[in-house]
Symmetry: C2
Subunit: 202 residues, 2 copies
């Protein structure tokens, strides 16, 4: 099979770049088309390869699929986020597991004392940083499946923690609505900063 | 031109998925091939479209290109990260700008009082979260350009802030080495958590 990669400063094709970045948007309305378990599996099997420091992989994902669970979530969101989240085919609560180090024997076998070392640390900054990197990968992975996805942070994080992670070891970071964009799905595209406003070379 | 997108649960082609996720790695050695300004521009023009909440875009990037700047950075890294960072064609310091709200008149014109509202807030959690999402996009953008990239967090962040961001309004989050992988560029692939260890449906 011929490669779809191209010769140029970017190796991914224009339509892949459009799907993931340039034409991708955060939808405010959705069609009724469901997000299937097959799509969820394909997205996870892709994004799990995204890198984290020390392979920490602290991201945990709660997919809100039942109407009952949706009803528990909606009142904990900022008012402006409720209607679109109520209408999305699938909603993902993305959280950091503060006890990610318990998986080190599997995820970082090169350093047998890693789990013990992290028992004495404040793990929350590590968990937040690496889970947030993974949320970046997740958003692009959802888009790779042809679905709209963007990050929402307007919610009562402590209340979502309590409602969906009663074990106390998780911190909710971002909520993402997934689905096919519906009618009038978005506002005008928001301006981006120019390279010279963001990148400095020293 | 024919689309390179495919029919299946993932729409991006297998080689795009391999390049970005499945075969992509964090390199520990590099060839001498430089990372060009043209590549940097292509990466930025791609990743700037990655979504942030309220279009905050707090990520700021310092590209360490001169030998003098590299010498200032290396002692601030954990010892295990110095040799590979010394040998990388290009090093990126990725930081959050706590004063991202000053750009709201450009980046979020829909809410004219946004800048004023954020003046009274603790902006650091917003800056860290959204800049870290953007670092996820950056890492995949570097890979889209056919280069190796992975996140390093072993460094003295306060010392890098002081050395490279003396204005006091930035927080260094991650350092990334960019380049073409060299000989013996990586260890064995680290195991990933299974879907049922990460994803719950409610």
């Amino acid at each position: 099979m011929t490669s779809t990669l191209i010769d140029g400063p970017l190796k991914i094709s224009d339509d892949a770049a459009d799907l993931l970045f340039r034409e991708a948007r955060t939808a405010n309305t959705f069609t009724d088309e469901p997000v299937t378990e097959e799509q969820v599996k394909a997205i996870y099997d892709l994004i799990k390869w995204g890198p984290t420091s020390m392979n920490q992989q602290p991201l945990r994902i709660v997919l809100v699929r039942s109407p009952q669970a949706r009803e528990r979530l909606l009142p904990l969101l900022a008012e402006g986020n409720r209607a679109k989240t109520g209408a999305a085919p699938l909603v993902a609560i993305l959280a950091a597991d503060l006890d990610f180090h318990e998986e080190f024997p599997k995820t970082f076998p090169y350093k047998p004392d890693a789990k013990e070392l992290f028992e004495g640390l404040d793990r929350e900054p590590h968990a937040r940083l690496n889970a947030t990197l993974q949320i970046g990968y997740f958003i692009l992975g959802v888009r790779a499946a042809g679905l709209a996805a963007g990050p929402m942070t307007g919610f009562d994080a402590a209340a979502i923690d309590q409602e969906f992670f009663p074990d106390g070891r998780h911190r909710t970071l971002v909520v993402v609505n997934l689905g096919q964009p519906g009618e009038n799905a978005w506002f005008d595209r928001s301006p981006r900063l120019d390279q010279d406003e963001v990148v400095t070379t020293v």
